[in-house]
């Protein structure tokens, strides 16, 4: 192979790859070269000078920066010569000269590359007797991250991350020479969705995260590798705990998924697990109040309610909604309970806020496929807000000129600056937007250059899915061979849908179920970790449905708005309290670890399902979570490879096959009515920080929700009111809500955007889930 290059590392022959960095080649040969600024997921800068070695390419040993220089034929790499050792000791002594050496009170102490390498490669003692550099410390550089400039060794990792990886260059060096330090812009914090990563990659204790500061010492932490279930990207993490309390997540570098990065919501939402507001035991309704009950009492009551419902109007009057928050095993156990034991077909894991389940029947792309495709078409919500690490991967693909991104969205998104083509469309005109795009000769040529991946999802909660489905169909028909990455958002929604939390033949989906409940046709509504009042876009329907359902059983970790209306609440264990597996949006099954004991007497959802089945006179046959994992592999279409052993063997998990049991989505007709020129067409979508339970119950994140407001293009705002920040009344034919008006040039003219599930007025009151689009009148109050 011409790609092989023969070198020697400390005299030992080694075969390196062409173009490989010396530091990597040495690592492959078993020689660890100390480093601070070098990070394998970012470009090399060679600033810390710790990785200096001597390389001889025939002209004698030369001082070489091993993180910058690539291997050359017959290069003799020496990582241990007296000169190298002298340089390493010199650089370390210099790095420590102004470092405060406050390791005993530093969070990083014990896991600090500076500390470790000072021991392994340092001179042992410092001769620096001058007064050290002083800065005010620590200073908050964002709501979540503190900076100690005295500890900082100016390695450029956090600043490079912010610029190169996150695309939020909000921190940089300022001043010069010995007084160089990291700073934000004046009055502008490091408000990146990815700021927590800088804490993880900081090689010293300069950056610390608010939720973890002074909480534990690294040697007291125990850890288990797991998967983040905050969204459906499924980033690999380690869950770290001390004294049975979850204290921190750290990103794990999973090549096909997250490359080590996490979003802040995923990283810090662990606080919810130990929230004092958790439901800690089963609750049974006694009159107007929910009273604590023993498990046997609560389960018997739940079984009684199901039995009553069945007796009253048959199994078809029972509906089970949810499953997306749990594990594959939770979903499978509940799917079996619903379909086999209870006998209902009204089962669904989605909350009426995604595209139809048929999306999962299309030819699936992986995240890697998308990040290496010639073209990615985003017919999706703002993935920076909804699937943040997928945004990082696609942004990198665009920035590294591998991939051209074509974006079709109803408003500008975080991805727009990196898009090769951006098409903003008025809700309901997706098909015309796709047609217009396909008619463009440049676009047609680009689509023909190589693999095309369509990231498809629901960009607007205030319109039906029909036009998006139509547009997606049109696109897939026009680009043969294109694959789809389904942009379902919620944690394990793909897993839940695939293992069976979807309607059986003739069954109702969520919208149908809620409509039936509102009409008084649902005798028993079972909510498995779902909260229609918060998450179902049509708030009015959800309210009527919960009032109309005769009996409600809720399985939840918190007493959510919907759970509070239940007759029985079965206390569920949360993330990090239960083991199992997770399926991400590309169909990758990875392990979830149980790291701490469940709060209170809470149980995993699958256990509750198994117990409830017994109460109903059936035995699901499960004793352990592995039983279910094995059963899923045996029974669920596409999961044959996802055996417990295979999942345990590979940190990156097992990729499942596209389930043949799910019919690919088909063309649907949609009729969009004529539009009144005075009206604004409503766009409602999610942003990263909202009132979801994991966020609202994590104190560090809760206050980051931006609040409910109607965003209008500045010129439109002028039309409606003279002042930004004014109160405006937003009305449909049946409801009106008063919002604060905000000027926002990412919103298209003629549309109005409201973020969903935010503190403040509820935009859900304006949404009619049966309407094709939502047109609103906006008036100055």
């Amino acid at each position: 192979m011409s790609d092989e290059i023969n070198v020697t590392v400390n005299g030992v022959p080694h075969v390196a790859r062409k173009g490989q960095l010396v530091i990597e080649a040495a690592a492959d040969a078993g020689e660890y070269i100390p480093r601070f600024c070098y990070h394998e997921r970012m470009s090399s800068v060679g600033k810390c000078r710790m990785c200096l070695v001597e390389c001889d390419t025939g002209r004698g040993p030369a001082v070489t920066v091993s993180c910058m220089a690539t291997v050359a034929p017959d290069m003799k790499i020496d990582t241990q010569s007296p000169t190298v050792k002298r340089m390493q000791e010199g650089v370390l002594e210099l790095l420590l000269a102004n470092h405060p050496l406050d390791c005993p009170v530093c969070d990083k102490g014990g896991e600090c590359p500076l500390q470790d390498q000072a021991f392994s490669h340092g001179p042992g003692e410092s001769r620096f007797v001058e007064e050290k550099r002083h800065f005010e410390k620590p200073i908050p550089i964002s709501d979540l991250v503190f900076l100690d400039r005295e500890r900082c060794i100016l390695c450029d990792r956090c600043t490079r991350f912010a610029d190169e990886v996150a695309g939020d260059p909000l921190i940089h060096f300022t001043s010069r020479g010995n007084s160089t330090h990291i700073a934000t812009f004046p009055d502008e914090p490091f408000a990146s969705y990815f700021s927590g990563n800088t804490v993880q990659i900081c090689p010293v204790g300069a950056l610390t995260a608010k939720p973890y500061r002074f909480k534990a010492r690294p040697w007291d932490l125990q850890q288990e590798e797991s998967t983040c279930t905050t969204c459906s990207v499924g980033c690999r993490v380690v869950v770290q705990s001390s004294r049975d309390e979850v204290l921190r997540y750290m990103g794990v570098d999973s090549e096909p998924v997250n490359h080590g990065w996490l979003c802040d919501r995923g990283r810090f939402s662990f606080e919810a697990t130990k929230s004092a507001e958790r439901v800690l035991q089963p609750l049974v309704r006694e009159g107007d109040a929910l009273a604590p009950a023993a498990w046997n009492v609560a389960l018997a009551e739940a079984a009684r309610l199901i039995g009553e419902a069945k007796a009253a109007a048959g199994a078809g009057s029972i509906a089970v909604l949810g499953g997306a928050r749990g594990t594959n095993e939770d979903a499978f156990a509940w799917a079996r309970l619903a379909h086999e034991v209870i006998g209902t077909t009204n089962v669904y894991a989605q909350m009426g806020d995604g595209l139809p389940v048929g999306l999962l029947g299309l030819d699936r792309a992986t995240i890697d496929d998308a990040a290496n495709a010639a073209t990615v078409v985003l017919l999706s919500p703002d993935i920076k807000e909804e699937l943040p690490v997928l945004y990082l991967r696609l942004r990198a693909a665009a920035e590294q000129r591998r991939t051209k991104i074509i974006e079709l969205t109803p408003k500008r998104t975080g991805m727009t600056p990196y898009a090769w083509r951006h098409v903003g469309y008025q809700p309901g005109t997706q098909v015309a937007a796709v047609d217009g795009l396909l008619a463009d000769a440049d676009v047609a040529a680009q689509l023909a250059t190589g693999p095309v991946v369509v990231v498809a999802g629901r960009a607007n909660l205030a319109e039906s899915t029909a036009t998006t489905v139509q547009a997606l169909r049109r696109l897939l028909d026009a680009v043969p061979g294109a694959t789809v990455l389904p942009a379902f958002r919620r944690g394990n929604v793909v897993g839940a849908l695939q293992v069976g939390m979807r309607p059986g033949k003739g069954g109702l989906d969520t919208r149908g179920t809620l409509q039936a409940a509102a009409d008084g046709k649902i005798e028993c509504l079972v909510l498995v970790g779902s909260d229609p009042l918060a998450d179902f876009p049509d708030h009015s329907l959800a309210t009527r449905a919960l009032a109309g359902a005769r009996r409600i059983i809720a399985v939840d970790t918190f007493l959510s708005a919907s759970a509070a209306k239940a007759d029985v609440v079965l206390a569920a264990s949360a993330f990090a309290e239960k083991a199992g597996t997770h399926t991400n949006l590309e169909g990758r099954v990875t392990s979830l670890a149980r790291k701490v004991t469940p709060a209170g007497v809470n149980r995993a959802d699958w256990m509750i399902a198994a117990e409830l089945a017994l109460e109903l006179g059936s035995d699901l046959g499960y004793g352990t979570v592995e039983d279910i994992t094995a059963d899923i592999a045996a029974k669920v279409d596409g999961y044959a490879a996802a055996t417990p052993a295979a999942i345990a063997a590979d940190s990156d998990g097992v990729l499942t096959a596209v389930p043949g049991a799910i019919d690919p989505m088909n063309h649907v007709e949609a009729v969009i009515g004529e539009r009144n020129a005075y009206d604004f067409r409503l766009v409602v979508s999610r942003v990263l920080y909202d009132q979801a339970e994991g966020t609202a119950h994590s104190p560090s994140l809760a206050h980051l929700a931006r609040g409910s407001a109607v965003h209008l293009h500045p010129l439109d705002l002028d039309r409606v009111t003279s002042t930004a920040g004014a109160r405006v009344k937003v009305s449909t034919a049946s409801a009106s809500v008063v919002f604060t008006a905000v000027a926002d040039d990412s919103v298209l003219r003629g549309t109005a955007w409201v973020p969903f599930n935010q503190p403040g007025p509820n935009v859900g009151e304006l949404i009619d889930c049966f309407a094709a689009v939502t047109d609103v009148r906006i008036e100055n109050v």
């Binding site: 090399s44 810390c48 000078r49 002298r86 010199g90 060096f173 010069r176 020479g177």
Partner: protein
């Protein structure tokens, strides 16, 4: 004739060939009128009658050495650009800020058209159409003169589209520096031009010729280097190489400062002139001030290791100076007579480099300041004997291995030739150490005297804990 009131600092004495300073005798040397009257733009016209390759060959043949510090031949440098990669740029390094150096300022203030003509010749030979003239921010007069000259040159059709009716078009863009020494380093200058922090780029790539401004092939040339080209094109290679030696042809400008009777900028013959000629010659500096004796001198800008009277017979020839343990650098000679307090002199220079460190790499950022702080204590009489070895130890962390120094027969020292190894990205770090090392090598007794009375610092025993 000696000096001109309008060219303060410039000394024109004796009968020597003049290449770049020939017009300095005229008070209005910076105007296009005077330039036209003194063969102005004849070099450009001569160049335009030849092919770019021929002009390049001429510059290569004349071995025009870079006058910025490294002494790299300009013709060879141009040849390093990958062929067929366009656009390519010429960046003129007018960010002259090496301590003791003030020759480029005079060239820009007194003969801006010569520089512009040089740029045009280089642009023609190297096949490029955009030139960036980066002038140090602290030189407002140079900026004003070059700007005025540039306007005149545009108006006269020497710069812009279809120069002198040919197909050759060049734009020259003037850029004003913001006050950082390190931007004199060519890659830092490129970063600064791109609007980023003025920090040297990482090597490799070693030369911006391959990947330079905006990632394109780029030549960075010094003001004096380019100012040589009009004369070369007018008079030919033979006339140019007839001056000086084979390896160092032509003349070079030298700025002498410090304790000489007549400091100033001189245009001297390259290669043959020795430091003795320069410092003691009647047509040059006319000896040490007040009849004092010479103690030491810095031969090539503040970052060069020092020479002592033993090296006075070293000529202005790069390789000879390098073998003797220093470098000719930017052509700045700083002279110290026997009244000089050596530790203070070393501190003055080191303080400059510590202050001018850009701060991106560890050894320079931390080491430079540490050297300065220890030296400060020593100079104030607060140092200890251990501090002197400490200074050398810090220096070794910046430059591992032997650091160049001149021979000193009184101390029994042989010369250690240039160059040195370094752990830093650029030469600012080693520059902070060079004066310390030279001073301690040749004048350790002066430091010993400073620390003689201070007690050795108490050693705190370090007990290993297992």
């Amino acid at each position: 004739m000696a000096t001109y009131p309008w060219a303060a600092g410039y000394v024109d004495d004796g009968d020597r060939p003049k290449i770049v300073t020939a017009r300095f005798e005229h008070e209005d040397s910076y105007t296009i009128t005077r330039y036209h009257a003194t063969e102005g733009y004849a070099g450009l016209k001569a160049a335009l009658t030849r092919t770019p390759g021929e002009v390049h060959d001429e510059v290569r043949g004349a071995t025009v050495l870079g006058r910025g510090g490294a002494g790299f031949p300009a013709g060879t440098k141009w040849g390093l650009m990958p062929p067929e990669k366009y656009p390519r740029y010429l960046v003129v390094n007018g960010d002259e800020s090496e301590p003791g150096t003030y020759k480029d300022r005079l060239l820009m203030e007194r003969d801006p058209h010569q520089l512009i003509e040089g740029c045009l010749i280089a642009a023609y030979a190297a096949g490029l159409s955009q030139v960036f003239l980066y002038i140090r921010g602290e030189m407002p007069l140079a900026h004003e003169r070059v700007a005025t000259a540039l306007n005149e040159a545009y108006a006269a059709g020497y710069v812009g589209k279809n120069i002198l009716g040919t197909d050759f078009s060049v734009d020259i863009i003037l850029h004003w520096g913001a006050g950082a020494y390190v931007v004199g380093e060519e890659t830092a200058l490129i970063e600064s031009l791109e609007g980023k922090r003025g920090e040297p780029r990482l090597k490799p790539p070693y030369f911006p010729a391959a990947i330079g401004l905006y990632g394109q092939p780029t030549i960075v040339n010094n003001v004096e280097t380019l100012s040589n080209l009009p004369w070369l094109l007018r008079n030919g290679v033979a006339a140019y190489t007839a001056i000086g030696t084979e390896t160092s042809p032509g003349t070079r400008m030298v700025a002498v400062s410090g304790h000489v009777a007549r400091p100033g900028v001189f245009e001297i013959v390259n290669g043959t002139t020795t430091f003795r000629d320069l410092l003691f010659g009647d047509e040059f500096c006319q000896g040490i001030r007040d009849g004092n004796s010479l103690k030491a001198f810095v031969p090539g800008g503040g970052s060069a290791p020092w020479f002592t009277p033993e090296q006075l017979d070293v000529p202005f020839e790069g390789r000879v100076a390098g073998a003797a343990g220093s470098m000719l650098g930017s052509g700045a000679v700083m002279v110290m007579d026997d009244t000089t307090d050596i530790p203070t002199a070393a501190l003055t220079l080191t303080r400059f480099y510590a202050h001018e460190s850009c701060g991106q790499c560890t050894p320079c950022r931390e080491g430079g300041t540490w050297l300065m702080r220890v030296l400060e204590r020593v100079v104030e009489g607060q140092g200890t004997r251990a501090d002197l070895d400490q200074l050398l130890e810090i220096g070794e962390s910046i430059c591992p291995g032997k650091f160049p120094h001149a021979a000193n027969s009184a101390l029994g020292l042989e010369a250690t030739p240039f160059p040195y190894k370094m752990t830093t990205i650029c030469f600012v770090g080693p520059s902070a150490y060079a004066p310390v090392h030279s001073a301690l090598t040749h004048f350790r007794d002066e430091f010993e005297a400073r620390v003689a009375d201070t007690p050795a610092r108490r050693q705190i025993p370090v007990t290993a804990v297992h």
